[in-house]
Amino acid sequence: MAGICSYGGYVPRYRLNRGLVYGAMGWMNPANIANARGEKAVANFDEDSITMAVAAGIDALKGVDKSTVGGVYYASTTMPYKERLNAGIITAALGLNDQIRAADFSGGIKAGTTALLAALEGVAAKGVDNVVVTASDCRLGKPASPQELIFGDAAAALVVGSENVIAEFKGAFSTTYDFVDHYRGETAKFDRAWEDRWIRDLGFAQLVPEAVQGLLEKTGLAMTDFAKVVYPCHYGAARKGLNKKLGITPEQDQSNLQVEIGETGTPHSLVMFVKALEEAKPGDKILLVSFGSGCDALAFEVTENIAKLAPRAAITGSLANRADLDNYTKYLIWRDILPGDAGLRSEEDLWTRWSQLWRKRREVLGLWGTKCQACGTVQYPKQRICVNPECGAADQMEEYCFADKVGKIASYTGDNLAASVNPPAIYGQVVFEEGGKYMFDFTDCDLDSLATGMPVVVSFRRKYSDKHRDIAGYFWKAVPKREEA
């Protein structure tokens, strides 16, 4: 039986109070006061859609034997690469086998559920098993636009398989329309929208019910069968209207997290779905609907296995790990909307030699080092000759992954000279509990909060952006270990 075997979620640590944005830009569009409530989740300067998808994927893979994973399906409309498989980068970062299937799903923001359907049907057809479906977006609204306030950044991931299913797949119904509520052209940075009234009254109010009715007819289920209904719609009044029209009670209505995160695009219905799964009981049925160039509607039934999942951050845990981004212009710099001067040093030109990255792909993207089979010493980066001076064995190494290890801060600094859009650049030596050490950049923390001896974990981040050549480069950074909610 195909279904969801595991889930994970990721909401970036930084939250931008919408009132702060309105205070800076409201003069240009006073009507935006309607969207100025709550806060939006904002990717850190070193995060993008890929890094958020990796974070959600790592969360979803907790308790899953990675060697059983057969595929990675990635959905996003803000993939860093148009050509170069984004899911391939995610696969390497997740430390998965090379011999699996990976695909990118993009275009309309219903692509998240479409990727999920492809995985469910692939598993049902026994063509593939244990597929990591991950979706993320990092969409930009132009300063002073409603979208700037409405949009937020997040990611969700689901492992789809046939064994130990926590939510069985009960059926799906899809529609596809070239209904253009938002769009982004080939070179555009910002989303463009048509009139809200039209999106609301023709888009949500007609397309969502059509998909829901189609699913109910196909599966023979009724609205009252569902413990939770997940559908995206950030218009408060339209959402109330839809609930009434579809017969969704307040108990059934899964929060769209607009006040806490914002409208996240491709991952949005999956983010809501993960939140629903976190709170679900065995026997609960969940209706999952996406929206964007049509709709996918999917029905699930939660099983007893849901209680057996290993602890994870998911959406609730990552929402609890929050820090104010107390500066709107910092957001503009991080997203490269406002040109800022990081100094001449930032203009030094080093370029990615793809052949080097190919050779080093396991250690760079997957944080694989080596473990000496002669003396047991683990070491990063990969070595051929053991670094232990008492050993020195040559070519007796096996691979060893540092990406899931816990370390301690041995030394650190906050560097104001280094070129950074988030100075000071914080970095230091990390000694891993099980051996090995490396000097990492630190992220998602403040200098004042650090101390030697503090435990850290590693997080996959954007290391550099080569604007001359349109390259996003990735590596791992250290993050203070925080208790998961």
Binding site: V387, P389, G414, N416, P424, D441, T452
Partner: protein, 402 residues
Amino acid sequence: MADGIRDKVAILGMGCTKFGERWDCSGEDLMVESFLECLADAGIEKKEIQAAYFGVHIDEVNVGKAGTPLGAALKLPFIPITRTENFCATATEAFRAATYAVASGAYDIVLALGVEKLKDTGYGGLPGGAAFGTEMFLRGSNATAPGLFAQLATAYAAKYNIPMEKIKDAIAHVSAKSHFNGAMNPKAHLRKAVPEEAIKAAPMIAYPLGLFDCCGVSDGSAAAIVTTPEIAKSLKPNQDIIKVKALQISVSSGEEETYTNWDGAHFATTRVAATKAYEEAGIKNPREEVSMMEVHDCFSITEFVTMEDVHISPKGGAYEDVMNGFYDLKGGGVPCQVDGGLKCFGHPIGASGLRMIYAMYEQLLERVPEERAVKNARCGLTHNLGGTPAKNVAAISIIGRD
């Protein structure tokens, strides 16, 4: 069994430019300047130089690779010239190569010259570049030199459980001492005394290092002409002969960076190089026998921990010695940075090793004014440390008069 370099080679002459922001000079101009002083001091003609070693490090603002820049700038007549490069020990490597060339008997008179023209980058500090290989760009942290060395402070504080305020006091004294010494030196880059309170209050460059904890980034060049002690005596019968007592280099094996036995609070390479240098020079008790030092004070914390790594302060004892003035010019046991150090004399990477030896040489020949002279100096030690605290090259040279 090899018996080392001790007493096999003498310094015939030295030269050093003023270090600083030499906006009007190219690297080639600086080479000519140090060379002409060196040649005049040696009292020989250019055609008597039989071979040369040329130190230059930074490729981003460079006179060029190989030996040709030296031959062309100085118009040396078709002699063998080899470029040496080993981070901040680059000029010491040129000196070491020249010395070994004489000691081997291959040549009688050899030139070593180092230069760096750093002020053409357009910013403070050193270029990042690909000093650790182009693959490091894929996984190395967004680090600069001050940030890498600043970590010595957090690691040292943790190791010895010393509050950061006390470390700030000690490293402020380290920098104030160099400013005091440098202020008296007309060739130094930074020539102003700065009180410790101002040093501690300076803007942060890389926690916990402030502006005054960082050395000057300068243009400059220094040179030496070496020969055998016999030739030196014949050419300069009325002058003390300054002999090379030890030259040692220690290069990281990767242990500090990759193995967990390194505490991050000291330089493993310096300890090894110093031990071997004392052995080579026949020094049993460095705290008593070393008259003065120029050590690699790229940052105040570097000098602070180096006082232990050169085996003069006991482990964990640098704080006491620094605060007690043991390394001060006047009244100190082993005056350190007598010409201002990298901190104030300046740090053009490819020239610094020879600049340090020049400072010792001038003191040993009693050519410095009374106000900054080290009394009865018999033996001077210089130390370079290039690379990062976790992966570096340490060089120690000891010169002396008998």
